[in-house]
């Protein structure tokens, strides 16, 4: 099996607009995640796009959903 992690994809349509969560890709590393995101979410001519490994998102006020799992995983770290 090819080991892949989840990357969240964020993008901004044009200057002055908010950066929005637009989707996700699975990729075996950061470099391919950049390529997959750019090629997968090509429905707009994005002004800005970035990817974030799912495990790097730390939820502040909720503990459900895919990001909440990170927080539960971190409990006891501190």
């Amino acid at each position: 099996m090819i080991g892949e992690g989840v990357y969240e994809v964020f993008a901004r349509k044009k200057r002055g607009e908010p950066l929005r969560h637009i989707g996700y890709v699975d990729a075996p590393g950061d470099e391919l995640a950049r390529v997959y995101a750019w090629k997968t979410y090509d429905e707009e001519k994005w002004f800005e796009m970035c990817v974030v490994p799912r495990g790097a998102v730390i939820p502040v006020n909720r503990d459900d959903g895919p990001w909440g799992r990170n927080r539960r995983g971190r409990e006891g770290d501190g």
Binding site: H21, G23, G65, P66
Partner: protein
């Protein structure tokens, strides 16, 4: 979880509640959305090899690019739906690589070969339009926030596929002669194929919960009417014959052939003359899958094992 919890969730959804995480789902909701997303993902995935084999018939480099852009979109849409499933604890790996070809849940239409350029553009004009009817309705009505947002991209791109189909159907219809004859032959088998795609009529439909949980807004018959309300005028405007017409008195589109009826996949021919058959017979045909099922599934996963073995 209890029946009461299911009813409570349905009640909240009726007053506009949007779910944002799988943890908020009841078992009934979870079951219904997993089925819906599996059908959606499998349909997008299987459209890719169907269109990919047909893209060989593209008449120019520009049309090759358009056809492959559509294929790329379909794969991205499949990926989006499988990812939403993963977040519910369903394995994408197992769904894509762990099932037998006949276990995929795409419609029978994507088990058929698309043998020339006309068939590819009519598939864009008919099948992708069915996709827009179905997914546009989900987008407007779904109670699951992550799916609603994901469908923004999908709807936008499916509209491009439809436009590609319509523009090319118009070109072929205007050309006359062999082009128009070929186009008519495509319509003859692909129109009833799409009609059947929308599934059981409302008066026979078992209660699925998809409407109660607001996973969609329109019934099968309403979606079928919606599809015909744009497809029939399009075809009539192009001088193409379709086996349906608008009934002024009933204020709806009416089929001019026995529905459902049997299909001969080798001849690409609907057996209108043999009369109406039961839906059980239709389900049996769907379950048996169509002529391209194994080849299409094989073509999206054939290199998986080889490449994985190089990397490990």
């Amino acid at each position: 979880m209890s029946q009461r919890a299911e009813e409570q969730l349905k009640e909240r959804i009726r007053s506009g509640y949007i779910l944002e995480s799988p943890e908020e789902m009841t078992p009934g909701y979870r079951r219904a959305i997993i089925i819906q997303l599996t059908v959606q993902a499998d349909t997008e995935l299987m459209s890719a090899p169907a269109y990919w084999l047909a893209a060989r018939h593209a008449p120019s480099t520009n049309t090759q690019v358009s056809a492959h852009a559509i294929i790329q979109d379909e794969l991205a849409h499949a990926n989006i739906a499988y990812r939403l499933l993963e977040d519910m604890g369903v394995s994408k790996e197992k769904l894509v690589y762990g099932r037998e070809p006949h276990e995929f849940k795409h419609p029978y239409g994507f088990d058929q070969p698309l043998d020339n350029w006309a068939e590819l553009v009519v598939a864009n004009g008919f099948f992708d339009r069915a996709g827009i009817c179905l997914l546009g309705d989900v987008h407007r009505n779904t109670s699951y926030g992550p799916l609603k947002r994901a469908l923004v991209k999908v709807d936008m791109e499916e509209t491009f596929h439809l436009r590609h189909g319509e523009v090319w159907m118009r070109r072929l219809a205007r050309a006359g002669g062999a082009a128009t004859e070929l186009l008519q032959r495509c319509v003859d088998w692909m129109f009833p194929m799409t009609i059947e795609w929308f599934g059981l009529p409302d008066d026979l439909k078992r209660h699925s919960g998809q409407l109660d949980y607001k996973l969609k807004g329109l019934t099968n018959d309403e979606l079928r009417q919606l599809w015909m309300s744009s497809t029939v005028p399009l075809c009539e405007g192009l001088g193409l014959k379709v086996p349906a017409h608008y009934d002024e008195a009933a204020e709806e589109y009416v089929l001019d052939y026995p529905f459902p009826c049997e299909y001969d996949p080798d001849a690409k021919h609907w057996l209108f003359d043999d009369g109406e058959i039961s839906w059980d017979a239709v389900f049996a045909r769907w379950k048996g899958r169509g002529p391209m099922n194994e080849r299409y599934v094989e073509s999206v996963r054939r290199s998986r094992g080889t490449v994985s073995s190089w990397l490990n």
